[in-house]
């Protein structure tokens, strides 16, 4: 297949502007020229831009991601595949990942969020796992910003529209508001699936001359250039980028999942890869690269939605609900029958080849002929300059505040109000294994047909990371650890979704480096290695970046459903605080919401204390009726949440602001009867864990040292604030 003149027919000339429009820097283009030894064709330029953009190549983050702990006896597959895989015993495993869809969601909230959910579900079932749980971590601008309400409504409807139809329960997540997200919202979607350990599918192709099969929906012109768009900052031309956002079809995804799992059961699959960012390009290169093979594609065989699509468009389309598979040729008929049953496309579009080449043909014309390994292997990698985030200014005096007034202010803030308005738009119970619905702490799903359960949580406190990236990174992991612990689960492993601004700015890169350091230390100390993840950079608009937001998604195992901590506080129960309280108010929710201040350092995380206190909760769960971790809003918010859930009042003995609202880490609030409290205090004495009785549940009021308010009044605020702010 010599490169003829026809390679360049009807295609635009490669100019400086065209190169820049593909997001390639001049030095990156030089690198491209050196790699292939000639000027690229238009299609080839598109392929390089797809493979070398930040979103696909991790060129700014790779150096630092390598430092994260990713192994452990529980880890079956760490980062690098479609999703991470963790052993849960009995020949079963949980497959999970979190991924961002920030840029598209800001441009087109419904479709952006919907396809974010679709992409992460595909990552999970591509590996042979049936999705059993979803979560999403959402960050929006302040509610007074003209775009925020539209984004919240669109994103939530998009997540629901896709996940509900697909049929996966959404069991957790977060929603936050901060002016720093006014120009860039964050949509981080998590999915987990269940598989048999001996029936996992990977992307590495094997065997020469094996058919490469295209599965699923047809290819259209949507999403062309999406991955490149997602690797750039926003400015006032953002509306012009709307056509780069893909359109989701959850009905097709559901059929694709059922068909893929049926197909895998036939034994016909050698390797399989979903088409996500940069579609056909990324998936074909990935399969060849991992299998040390070349790939030839005949694009005229690709099922298309519209006529006369060019090679460039087909290679860069991000049409959804598509997969690429290497097939055992002798089982073609069986494989095709499955896809016929589900009315999905099944087309042999190429084959694996022995040479290290990625050859793209259209109607017998060579459109691209590139060294395949070089496409991923020689992608640029940067050691970007970074500066350490300066130490936060010391905290100024915080005035004492009437505790009930402070609590009221937090409950009325959409950041801390109940999020029912959000999660009641998601199907939280489909598959009929949801043990704990989203709302507070971790969601819990029974492993179908067993006595095991899995707990899921997603956490990060961006204002801590802003003030102190390392401690903030640790805290995100520690909070996830606590949320899993508070339902009785043993934390297993973690997925990280790193959302930051422009990495070319040394102070932003410094945030990234600091957060990675903190996350690494914490996942190592708490034995919850990183098994998958995603990096989203350039979350900036007109030069202003978001708060650094390294979202931590974590999964925990409960070996027997009888060991779940899922009770409620009752009249007369003791409120026991586990962990030491110093009264750290720097960067606290109280400071932000009531005093509109952002000073002070983030709370420091004592990882030994986290481990010790977490083990204490798990070891003594039989004494614990209800449990929550202490995070935003400290003791007073935790006590309110336990009381509100149970519909009983609570009275706390403490009076001072720092003790009530401080956000010291490694703490839990427990509700139990008097005898159980005594037993817990005895056990704590043996293990060096600090436990103190801080109050009592009962009555109809929330009372703090003399001041009080009816629970019903506070509950009314808590339950209505979110809807009235966003609806």
């Amino acid at each position: 297949m010599p490169l003829g003149d026809n390679l360049f027919m009807q295609e635009p000339a490669i100019t400086k502007d065209l190169i820049a429009a593909h997001g390639l820097k001049p030095d990156e283009y030089e690198r491209l020229l050196k790699t292939i030894g000639r000027e690229p064709s238009f299609t080839e330029l598109g392929i390089f831009s797809a493979m070398w953009n930040e979103h696909c190549s991790y060129k700014s983050s790779k150096k630092w991601l390598r430092t994260l702990p990713t192994t452990g006896p529980q880890v079956i597959c760490g980062p690098g595949e479609n999703a991470g895989i963790v052993d849960i015993g009995d020949g079963q495993c949980v497959v999970f990942k979190m991924e961002s869809h920030n840029h598209p969601s800001y441009i087109e909230p419904y479709q952006g969020a919907a396809t974010g959910v679709g992409g992460i579900l595909r990552d999970v079932f591509t590996m042979g796992a049936r999705p059993i749980a979803a979560m999403n971590s959402l960050s929006f601008g302040e509610l007074s910003h003209p775009k925020t309400r539209q984004l919240v409504n669109g994103v939530v409807a998009g997540i629901g529209g896709y996940g509900n139809c697909f049929g996966v329960p959404t069991v957790g997540g977060e929603v936050r508001f901060d002016a720093a997200y006014n120009g860039n919202c964050l949509v981080n979607a998590f999915a987990a699936g269940l598989a048999d350990t001996d029936k996992i599918f990977y992307s590495a192709a094997s065997g020469v001359g094996m058919p490469v099969v295209y599965l699923g929906a047809k290819t259209g012109r949507d999403g062309v250039g999406g991955a490149t768009m997602a690797s750039a900052e926003f400015d006032d031309t953002i509306e012009e980028k709307r056509p780069t956002v893909q359109v989701g079809d959850p009905f097709t995804e559901k059929r694709l999942m059922e068909a893929t799992l049926e197909l895998m059961a036939t034994g016909a699959v050698i390797s399989i890869q979903d088409m996500g960012a940069a579609g056909l390009t990324c998936s074909a290169v990935e399969m060849g690269d991992k299998g040390n093979l070349g790939v030839r594609l005949d694009l005229e065989k690709v099922p298309t939605r519209e006529p006369n699509m060019t090679a460039y468009e087909m290679m860069l389309s991000e049409s959804q609900e598509r997969m690429l598979m290497v097939l055992k040729p002798e089982l073609e008929a069986e494989a095709k029958a499955v896809f016929d049953k589900w009315d999905l496309d099944f087309a042999i579009v190429g084959e694996t080849i022995a040479e290290d080449r990625f050859v793209v043909m259209l109607n017998n014309e060579v459109k691209a002929d590139l060294p395949l390994k070089a496409l991923s292997g020689t992608a640029p990698e940067y050691d970007r300059p970074w500066v350490e985030t300066p130490r936060a200014a010391p905290l100024d005096d915080v005035p004492e505040i009437d505790p009930i007034d402070g609590l009221r202010a937090l409950l009325a803030s959409p950041n801390y109000a109940a999020k029912n308005w959000v999660f009641e738009q998601y199907d939280t119970m489909v598959m009929a294994d949801t043990i704990k619905l989203p709302g507070l702490g971790a969601g819990v799903i029974r492993v179908h047909g067993t006595r095991k359960a899995l707990a899921f949580t997603s956490d990060v406190t961006p204002r801590y990371v802003m003030a102190n990236p390392t401690e903030g990174g640790k805290q995100a992991v520690a909070e996830a650890y606590r949320n899993l612990t508070a339902v009785g689960a043993k934390p297993l492993a973690t997925t990280d979704n790193m959302n930051f601004g422009n990495p070319e700015k040394p102070e932003i890169m410094g945030q990234f480096v600091g957060a990675i350091k903190g996350i690494g230390e914490a996942v190592s100390a708490l034995d919850m290695p990183i098994v998958s993840g995603n990096v989203s950079l350039y979350n900036e608009t007109d030069g202003t970046g978001i708060l650094p937001t390294p979202t931590i998604g974590a999964v925990g195992l409960i070996d027997d459903i009888d060991h779940i901590i899922a009770g409620e506080a009752r009249e007369g129960h003791v409120a026991l605080l586990v962990g030491k309280t110093k009264g750290h108010l720097g960067q606290s929710a109280l400071l932000a919401e009531v005093f509109h201040r952002k000073d002070g350092d983030a709370p420091h995380v004592d990882l030994d204390a986290e481990k010790r206190n977490g083990d204490f909760i798990r070891d003594n769960r039989h004494y614990i009726k209800a449990c929550t971790d202490l995070s935003d809003g400290g003791l007073i918010v935790a006590a309110f949440e336990i009381a509100e859930t149970a519909g009983v009042g609570v009275s706390l003995d403490a009076a001072d602001t720092a003790k009530l609202f401080g956000e010291d880490q490694a703490r839990y609030l427990v509700a139990c009867n008097f005898d159980q409290a005594e037993a817990l205090i005895t056990e704590a004495g043996k293990t060096g864990v600090h436990v103190e009785a801080v109050g009592r549940f009962g009555g109809h009021n929330v009372s703090i040292d003399g001041t009080s308010a009816p629970l019903s009044e506070l509950s009314g605020i808590y339950r209505s604030a979110f809807a009235s702010a966003v609806a």
């Binding site: 559901k254 029912n420 598959m431």
Partner: protein, 222 residues
């Protein structure tokens, strides 16, 4: 009891329904929508929730044209028992087995939560495990559950005691708070709430169990 659960592309509560029926002692088969005939010897056909055909065009409208639906209508015509839950209820109204139509929820949002229901009649194989006037909690999960029926039909439904369940706190704008209705021969039930999601004490509720148990008891006797 021998039961079939119909599977359409986009059904997603089919497995859950199989589990709940099996727990009540039923022998359950899943039947693909392209099949033309139901298996022989069935006591019950159950049409599950989900998004058959993506809810494109109109919820349940495309599924109602599937080959298997003709057999379901024939089965009901011969006095067979048919249960439609959520999307299944929508499909049964589209086939004409049940009156009325399910419109978009009044607040235009998808809603998933436990809701209080009142059992309006214990006079059916589906509801005889409850008592008339009993309050139960069963989850809903739908975007189009706003039951709409003309005044004349509503009068007949009331007069014939065919309203099976009503909402305690109408979540979706349904006419007369209706959550589930029976056919004229009382052998077809359509309901928006999901009893199969409230059939296990581990999952927060068991108020749906009585429905499946009553069916199993009634249909064994039959």
């Amino acid at each position: 009891m021998r039961a079939a659960v119909i599977v359409f592309p986009g059904s997603n509560c089919d497995r859950d329904l199989v589990v709940a029926l099996e727990q009540a002692g039923a022998d359950v088969q899943m039947v693909w929508h392209k099949d033309k005939e139901l298996p022989a010897g069935l006591d019950l056909v159950a049409v599950p929730g989900g998004f058959s055909f993506g809810d494109y065009l109109r919820c349940g409208a495309i599924a109602a044209q599937s080959p298997i639906c003709r057999s379901v209508v024939n089965f009901a015509g011969k006095g067979g028992y048919v249960l439609g839950i959520c999307n299944g209820f929508q499909i049964l109204t589209e086939t004409g087995l049940l009156p009325g139509a399910l419109l978009r929820n009044a607040d235009l949002h998808y809603i998933c939560k436990y809701v209080p229901l009142t059992v309006q009649t214990a006079n059916s194989a589906f509801t005889r495990g409850y008592t008339k006037g009993q309050n139960i909690n069963i989850p809903i999960a739908h975007h189009d559950g706003n039951y709409n029926v003309d005044p004349e039909t509503l009068g007949r439904l009331k007069g014939d005691d065919r309203i099976a369940f009503t909402y305690g706190d109408n979540p979706n704008g349904s006419t007369a708070d209706i959550a589930g209705v029976l056919s004229e021969n009382r052998r077809v039930l359509g309901m928006m709430p999901h009893p199969e999601r409230a059939a296990d004490s581990r999952l927060g509720g068991t108020d749906g169990t009585a429905l499946f148990r009553a069916l199993a008891d009634s249909l064994v006797a039959a």
